[in-house]
Each structure stands twice: as structure tokens, then as C-alpha cells.
Symmetry: C2
Subunit: 249 residues, 2 copies
DNA sequence: CGCTTTATTGAGAGATATCAATACTTGTGG
DNA sequence: CCACAAGTATTGATATCTCTCAATAAAGCG
């Protein structure tokens, strides 16, 4: 891990473009300044590098600045599964709070940068800034909801449906960040997608090919174009949130 | 729902036998007294009654006093899944914090009683009592870890393994509360077990019969006796935490 | 340019779902 | 207290989906 101190002007939360997705949502300037004092360091990770490992003592939680990470959770017998993919603005490391050590491995899928939020200092600050405290609880709670949706996917959906709803979920999160929502690069391998969805890599591949044949998507390697959003939503069994408009970058 | 005000002496957190599993873990007497002022009401639920429904505005989170509840999460197309079973001392309603309304349905599996914790008042109190704040974060974080384990089960395990680890998880949670860990009543139906594990009711039934044939368990209706714990642990792919001793009530 | 990794595609095997029939429980009312 | 009905659970036979094994193709990397 390369620790870089924060010289660059854009290193402060107060001027970070991610403000709207990151912790400081809805805080006033004074409070954000206080958070600035909290987030003093960042880490730059190369593809494949660990941000933390299962068992590491919890010192911080992290906010993705750019790039993509995955978190994996392992069983004692060696089996493990990708539990989540993390885009800019999303928080990592929350599963370490319960027992003071991270329960998962966090690994960069591409060159990424992550803000370091000292956890003990953060708890102190949250007591001083009620909005921050509430915001943090919301983040934790939404994380739960996200996992529950994931559970529903693994528990009730067939491979095809899982994959469709995975693609749509990615699309929605990208759209929220102002990226194209109908054309993007998958940062994760087929193996990682399969692991996340509880299906084998071959099945992922087959389903993607099938989607392409039916004209739902175009896919070339990891570059994907969602052609028929409505069709995908129908497949996934979730209603299309108001006839998706394509958000231009 | 029958709201009952708290006349009974045992209604206070300070004297509740669940103290060791409930929110007030590790608090001093003064602080617990403050929590007493927070938890003024309880609800008694009959089997099948809802504690809350998806979409209800979040007003409170809940702690199970006695009984068992399930939470279910639904897809727009009608499919739904049991996401969790909740034993005494466990907290419910946390998924409502994210957007101010519960994301799941909570339903009693038997006659149950639940403590009502006003959420806004709780956040205020958490700011005054750092230990309480931290404890709450730990609870939220552990909830995440629990869901991640569940994800791992649905994503990587076969039906047999899922069922074995489900039984062992129940056993462990009962043991922690001082109940017999090798003989207990399942409060949930086969349908609910299947939904929770992402398998069909018939498969649950078959696997239970298979376990019984192999001498791993004895089962009569919903009463189950775990005979060969080691065997179950091996099946589940998780190591037996120190040659399980049977905890007598 | 060759080697390694990653992805696609096919054929057959296996696990679980589905459909269907039967048995067991529980509750209700005569 | 028994009979009946409704709900719940078990068991069997077949269908279906996904996995596994295997071969090939494409892409990334030194």
C-alpha cells in the first residue's frame, strides 16, 4: 500500500466532487471542515492489491475516491465469495466494527484511490455532529438493505435473472454518479461476477451470450452496452424506474 | 398490535434478563437507567402478526424480549424471501434507518414480545453515551456480517450444507442464551426454512430425513435433536468450535 | 511473438425444482 | 369426543437448470 499525504488541493472532502455520494452529504461548511481534519490520508492501490484483509484490526473505514474494489468473504474450508463491488463514494470496512477486525478481504479491481477515515476519531466527531451521526447510520442501514436485495437474488432468482439485475444495479449506480448508464466497462472478471451471483463462470458467459443474441445487450470483452433496458428490467423481475432515460456524461 | 405500557417491574432494561444480549451490554447503572427512560413501551404479538411492514415509516427499532420473529423481503413481482429469524435479545427494524421506512416485513412466528426503542430519542442518547453509540454500531456491523455469512451460504453451499449450517447457527444462538443447544423446537415452518435457505420445501424435508437416516439428528415434526454435532459441522464445512459441549439449561 | 490468463462454447452429469399423491397435525363444530 | 376440513409435511417420479469436464478461442503481458 502506498500512503500519500494530502498535499493536492482536491484532497479535502470540502472540495471533493464525490461530496454528494460520500459521507459529508448534507453537512454545512463548518462541519465539512471538521471532517476534512479527519480524512487526512488516502491510499493508492494497484489492481489486485489488498486494502485490508480478514482479521486485520479495524483502524479505519474507507471511502472510494476513484476506481473499483471488491470485498470477499471466506469460509474456513477455503471456499469464498465476492460479497460486493464498491464504486466511488461508497464506504468500505464497515464489517470490521462488530468485532474490531475486518471480516472480509477488500481488493482493488483496478488502480484505485481510497480515503482513510480513522474510525475512533470518526465516532467522536459523529457525536458532535448529529447530522453526521445520522448519515452514518443511514449508510450502515442501506448497506444492510443492499445485502438483503443480494440475498433475495441468490435465494429466489435463476441465473439469467440474477445477471440481469446485476447489470441493472451497476447501471443505476453509475448513472447516479453521472456516468453513462447504458454503456460501460465491467471492472470485474467473469469469475468475480459468477462468484458474486452464486453461479459458475461458464453460466455467466452463456447468459451474456444469450442476452446478446436476444438483442438485450452488446458485449465485447468487458465493454458492455445495454440495448434493451426494458427487456432487462422485465427479465430481472423488477419494474423499470420510469422508462430509464439515458444519462449523458 | 397490542401496546402495553410498562407496569411490570421486569419491563426495565436495568433488570431485564436479556441484558447480556440486548442493547445495554457493558453499560453502567446510570446509563442503563437512561435507556430505561427510552424503552417505555412493549408490544405483544400473536403468531402471524406483523410488527411492521415494508413501507411503514420508521419510528422505532425493536428488541425481542421473548418469542421469535422472521423478517421477509419482497420483490416487486411478488416473490419474497425470509431474510432472517430473530431470537430474544436481537434487534429488528434497522433496515428502516436508511430511507426512513422499513424495507422488510417483520412477523411473529409465535407469541412474542418486543421492546420499542424510539429511534430519534435513541440517536440523541447515543450521542450522550459513547459506549451506547459504539455498541449500536457494533450491532449494525454484526448484522452486516451475519447477512454476509448468509450470502456465502446461498452462493456457495449445496442444500445439505445450507441446512446443516442453519441448524448449527440456531443451535449456537440458543446456546448463547442458555438454552439447550442440542435439542430444541423449530419455531418456523419448512416453507420458511426453505425460503430462508433458498431451497424448496420438499428439499428441506428430504434433507432432514436424510440427516435423520444418517444418525445426525432426530426429528419429530418441529422438535429436533442434534445427535452428531461433529458430523453436522463437517457437513456444513465449518469447524466445530472446540468440540461442542452440551449446555444444560 | 509465444506464454499465461481469461472467456466462450459444447456435451453429459448431477442437484434441485416441479408435479403429484399420500400422510400427518391442528383446529372446528356437531 | 369424534369427524371433517384446512394446513403442513413427507415421499416418489420426472423435468429442468446449472455444474462439471473438456476443447477451443481470444486477450493481456513480458
Amino acid at each position: 500500500m502506498n500512503f500519500t499525504s494530502s498535499e493536492a488541493p482536491s484532497s479535502k472532502c470540502s472540495v471533493c466532487v464525490l461530496g454528494q455520494f460520500c459521507l459529508p452529504v448534507g453537512l454545512n461548511t463548518v462541519d465539512v471542515a471538521k471532517i476534512d481534519t479527519l480524512v487526512k490520508e488516502r491510499v493508492r492501490l494497484q489492481k489486485g492489491e489488498n486494502l485490508y484483509r480478514h482479521g486485520d484490526p479495524l483502524s479505519s473505514v474507507y471511502s472510494v475516491r476513484f476506481g473499483t474494489l471488491k470485498t470477499e468473504y471466506g469460509l474456513e474450508d477455503g471456499r469464498q465469495q465476492v460479497i460486493g463491488f464498491h464504486l466511488p463514494g461508497e464506504i468500505l470496512g464497515l464489517d470490521g466494527i462488530g468485532d474490531g477486525q475486518y471480516q472480509s478481504d477488500a481488493i482493488a479491481l483496478e488502480e484505485s484511490e481510497v480515503c482513510i477515515i480513522r474510525y475512533d476519531a470518526f465516532e467522536d466527531l459523529a457525536r458532535q455532529i448529529p447530522v453526521l451521526q445520522h448519515q452514518f447510520h443511514r449508510i450502515l442501514s442501506r448497506e444492510l438493505t443492499q445485502d438483503q436485495r443480494h440475498l433475495l437474488s441468490l435465494g429466489t432468482m435463476r441465473a439469467e435473472e440474477r445477471l440481469a439485475s446485476f447489470l441493472l444495479n451497476l447501471s443505476q449506480r453509475l448513472a447516479a454518479r453521472g456516468y453513462l448508464n447504458n454503456e460501460f466497462d465491467l471492472r470485474m472478471s467473469r469469475v468475480e461476477i459468477g462468484s458474486y451471483l452464486g453461479i459458475q463462470i461458464e453460466t455467466v458467459s452463456r447468459m451474456l451470450s444469450r442476452f446478446a443474441e436476444s438483442g438485450l445487450i452488446q458485449i465485447k470483452q468487458r465493454h458492455i452496452k445495454l440495448i434493451d433496458m426494458d427487456g432487462l428490467y422485465e427479465l430481472a423481475g423488477i419494474p423499470n424506474p420510469e422508462r430509464t432515460r439515458c444519462i449523458k456524461k
